[in-house]
Amino acid sequence: MSVRYALTGVGMRYGDIEVLSDVTLTFDQPGMVALTGPNGAGKSTLLNIMSGLRDGFQGTCQLNGRSITTWPRREFAREVALVPQSLKLDFPFTAEQVVLMGRTPYAGGMFESPEDWKAVDRALELTDTTRFRHRDFRALSGGERQRVVLASALAQEPRALLLDEPTTFLDLQHQLSIYELLRSLAREGLLVIAVTHDLNLAAAYSDRVVALKNGRVAADADPCSALAAEKIKDVFGVQAEWLQRPGGKPWIAYGD
């Protein structure tokens, strides 16, 4: 069984500034969704609303037919995990301890159960972070931290995974391997929604692209249609062209 998100007329204002308006979207099957748009388009706000971090928005946001704001937090955290843009720690926790925190929504007591450890080992394995599980999280590089946070979210064993620019700090190799991982998780039945600025990664890996502009949905379709040259011009104000590599995936080139 997959999760079902239904957003109807979602809007959000901070004071006089309208960050989101009239966003109506449905996510009702597993798959990889790229959420894109220029800076200030409302991507992070939308992701925060969907992960239950914001209330006071207009419209309704439902998960499995139940309004997000009325979900018990523990149950919700077993359905939906969020990977924040970056995580800064003030205290010494090992990478493993950060991943272990992903099991808190399942906690039946003071300590982790064998199933908890199994989930943690698997999450570390998947994100290629087992090597430094015992190192201080704060001593890791930005990319390593990002993968540990992803591991923590995977340890939550959610049915929807929301990511805010998951590959910002990653080197090329890890960018690709994280997107490979996200796509394979999506194939296994996870709903993955990732905010990204990298249109080529979005085009190459996602099943669906949602583009926001000025707080409204400007495109919502498969990558080819949502990222068509005229759409990119409209949403980002940038000239773009799809190039066909011989025998390979298409490539979006920006600029003149």
Partner: protein, 334 residues
């Protein structure tokens, strides 16, 4: 640099070790002092040994254990809630509220209030007043965050401190001496009834806080992190602030503010054991209890005249803390 995960076996081993240290300190320190005590005579009820041991030294040791444990636990808690390694039980104003209450009682020359020393009752009332004020200001608009809590607490703390200075300035010489004595913090022997009610508050509150250790782990990472991991950050902030304030208020009312325990002990334990509150909190409670008891023993035996225990905790704690901060450059574990 690696550190082992917190498994039940490791937690039990380390907590039992800390418990053994604390019990040892609790057994040995009452025997130390200018007058030699023979335990066998004390237990046979022979004076002066029995009077000295059960009437003076043992209550004092138990008071120091309770106060040290409560301060260290409150320190751990406030550091986690505010995500500030420099937070202490006194950061958010509750202890200065207690001080203000005590100073008012001293200035009004009150002795007894409802069968208890007036200074204690007034201190508890002062602490409660500041607690309510801070929560009211921090929770404005029904959204409390660690930031609004810190802002409200620190601001109200400094306002209350200046009121204390004002009253001190207006007080007579005799009152002024009493005020200074109170503000320095002292562990004076108290009667068994006082120890019972203090233990009756401190022990359950500390135990309850330790049982919520995994929630404090989440909160020490961040409020949004806690929220996306099934916890309710606003409830935890409020409950934590009230519990930590209760601990601080109870000990401050009886002993006055005693510095450094709530700062140094959590840091030292975190340095050795990491940030997981399942170990950090109970071990800080136990070692805080032991450290304050040792400091108090030093305070009453080092010189012919008793020195205030706050002076000892600062003299031991200060250099220790500076050493910790210096080692921070070498090791990331702080």
């Amino acid at each position: 640099m690696g550190i082992e995960p917190v498994t039940p076996a490791r937690a039990a081993r380390i907590i039992l070790l800390a418990l053994a240290v604390t019990i040892l300190v609790g057994l040995i320190t009452p025997l130390i002092g200018p007058a030699k005590i023979e335990l066998s005579r004390a237990f046979r009820g022979e004076s002066p040994d029995a009077q000295m041991f059960f009437g003076v030294r043992l209550p004092r040791t138990i008071l120091a254990l309770l106060v040290g444990g409560a301060l260290a636990t409150a320190g751990v808690l406030f550091q986690a809630l505010l995500r500030d390694a420099l937070a202490t039980p006194y950061t958010l104003g509750v202890s200065s509220g207690a001080s203000l209450g005590a100073v008012i009682a001293i200035c009004l020359g009150m002795n007894q209030l409802g069968g208890l020393p007036a200074v204690w009752v007034a201190a508890l009332l002062g602490a409660a007043g500041v607690l309510l004020l801070v929560v009211a200001v921090a929770a404005e608009g029904r959204r409390m965050s660690s930031f609004t809590l810190l802002l409200a607490g620190v601001t109200i703390n400094s306002v209350v401190m200046s009121l204390i200075m004002l009253l001190h300035n207006l007080a007579s010489v005799g009152q002024s001496f009493a005020i200074v004595h109170w503000l320095m913090g002292n562990i004076d022997p108290v009667d068994a009834g006082t120890l019972w009610w203090m233990a009756g508050i401190i022990l359950p509150v500390c135990l309850g806080l330790c049982l919520l250790a995994r929630q404090w782990n989440l909160m020490s990472v961040g409020e949004e992190w806690a929220a996306t991991h099934g916890a309710s950050p606003q409830k935890l902030l409020l409950a934590g602030y009230i519990a930590g304030s209760l601990l601080t208020a109870v000990v401050t009312a009886v002993t006055g503010p005693i510095g450094f325990i709530g700062l140094v002990v959590p840091h030292a334990v975190r340095l050795k054991l990491g940030g997981d509150h399942r170990l950090l909190m109970p071990v800080s409670f136990l070692l805080g209890a032991a450290l304050l008891t040792v400091c108090d023993t030093v305070a009453r035996t080092l010189l012919v005249v008793e020195i205030p225990v706050s002076v000892v905790t600062a003299l031991i704690g200060g250099p220790f803390f500076i050493a910790l901060l210096r080692s921070r450059r070498r090791s990331l574990w702080l």
